[in-house]
Symmetry: C2
Subunit: 323 residues, 2 copies
């Protein structure tokens, strides 16, 4: 896993993924006490950054292997990314999703033409299910984060951040990513190390599902005690990856942890001030920037809003925090 | 009013206004029956395209005149655009707003540092109020649409559309703009005439406030019978402008008219499929593309989502249309 793989992935993504802008609002700056810059990956194809890694992985396969089809397991955003990347490559996709995934994510994954198989997040092992199906049908497994070409694709977001920060004269800032298994964070961390060494990758997670923050603190991979029961479905994973964690441990500062109420407020502020739609798991980095300023260094902070695939009831709950 | 003024405005806007992306979603294409491309000006500074015209007008003033301050009348989006452009130029702004403007627009205009004066939309003449104050205090009036430098600023959006369409190989399409007084539409129409002659500017308006559609049909300026009582507050104006109408009459096809329910549905689809927040007046063009396909020509349609400054109750009503 290295920066050259990220640059190669960025080239393969050119013309296929969107180069999302960098947004800001003086109203958010006032809340945070510093300038806040938002990379809205909710505006990416399929509504999350996951399309980057999926396209990177699919496009890196040799055509004969790819033609047999791919398989992925995902709480919903990787699912949609792989489903659309497969569709655009003209190959079939099987997606294994938790039965309690947001309805929108299940419906969209099917709408992109994928075959969806659901499982129980609390009692079944999605990796085992994936490996078995992959073997039986000759499909190539596209892992959600602990896979070099997926990390390379997510890293393209970090290359863009480095360039966009440089255009604005931002040379010293924390870059906070919403962190599940660490694919996005580790890709961004490697990209920043190469192209913007004054920018530091940080992770943000929801309270009670802070495996990465605890792993960064202890220096070894720690697991979450529970795997469901949080609104941030997109980033609830058992533990950081074997490939992603060493990268994060080497390059990231201490992990940030936010409350559910802070997540809902961040979603509402993004709606009100940036006019973007953010899902709970996509809002943890913004929540950290807005409400945990004491744990952040620098006059500027850059946050990745990682996705916007949210069902209406939870979105309505978020907007209620504005009243 | 000519293309050179638009190119000059675009240069003055460079580095100050955002170059908004061009978004799409296969789900929207399926509804519309053709490819739909969305220019999300809700992501512009202050949440609407109006910042373009305001910055253009302010930056075109000679410094001594500008230093005395500016005045504007607006239902809310021009207000915010002028307030922020004035703040960033370091000059004062007085903004005359309808008393029934959305709460968010009133609050934001004040938050950008402007002095806000409210009036009754049904019984008072905002032009008269503006002219009087302008004279008394030596302020320069920045009209909302019938002003060449404002039209030139809005036209920068059209230059971007021409370039972005060309990048995607779109050579023959309608470009639908949400239309109030016609500043955005006429600016875009002039930009397309110069840079993308295969693209045709069109207008979209809400039912009952279709002064532009009727004017385009009759060939002379027609007035709206009423001036309040519609959710599309941003684009309810008495009539097209003396400068904007001849441009629209020369360059635009027939005006499109959409219902309130279509507007609410378009807002919900934009939330669900593009992850952007759209206000009612900003959604009429998307509503026309999604639900009035029979009145549109070509395999592609480009729509400008002109703003996203919406209060929560009306946004909640829009999301309810998805259930």
């Amino acid at each position: 896993m290295n920066i050259e793989m990220i640059r190669a992935a960025a080239k393969r993504l050119d013309g296929h993924a969107r180069r999302t802008p960098l947004l800001n609002s003086s109203f958010l700056d006032d809340i945070a006490g510093r300038r806040v810059w938002v990379k809205p990956e909710c505006l990416q194809h399929t509504g999350s950054f996951k399309f980057r890694g999926a396209w990177s992985a699919l496009s890196a396969l040799d055509p004969a292997t790819r033609a047999k089809g791919v398989i992925a397991f995902s709480s919903g955003n990787h699912a949609q990314g792989v489903a659309l990347a497969a569709k655009r490559h003209g190959v079939s996709a099987v997606i294994i999703m938790p039965a309690d995934s947001p309805a929108l994510k299940l419906a969209n994954t099917r709408a992109y033409g994928a075959e969806v198989i659901t499982y129980d997040r609390a009692t079944e092992d999605r990796d085992a299910i994936g490996a078995k199906l992959s073997q039986e049908r000759g499909l190539t497994l596209i892992k959600p984060f602990d896979e070099p070409q997926v990390i390379a694709g997510q890293g393209s977001c970090g290359l863009e951040i480095a360039a966009q920060a440089s255009e604005r004269g931002i040379e010293n800032a924390d870059v906070i990513a919403c962190c599940g298994g660490g694919g996005l964070t580790s890709g961004i961390a490697l990209a920043l190390e190469a192209d913007a060494p004054g920018l530091r990758a940080r992770t943000a997670e929801p309270e009670g599902f802070d495996d990465v923050a605890r792993s960064l603190a202890s220096g070894r991979i720690e697991r979450n005690a529970q795997l469901s029961g949080n609104i941030c479905d997109a980033i609830v994973t058992p533990q950081p990856g074997d490939i992603t964690f060493p990268i994060m441990h080497r390059l990231c500062g201490a992990g940030l942890v936010v409350t559910e109420d802070e997540v809902l407020q961040a979603m509402a502020h993004a709606w009100n001030r940036l006019k973007i739609v953010v899902e709970p798991g996509g809002a943890v980095a913004l929540a950290a920037a807005l409400f945990h300023g004491g744990e952040i260094a620098g006059d500027d902070v850059i946050v990745v809003v990682s996705g916007g695939n949210v069902d209406m009831p939870i979105f309505a709950r978020a907007l209620e925090t504005l009243t």
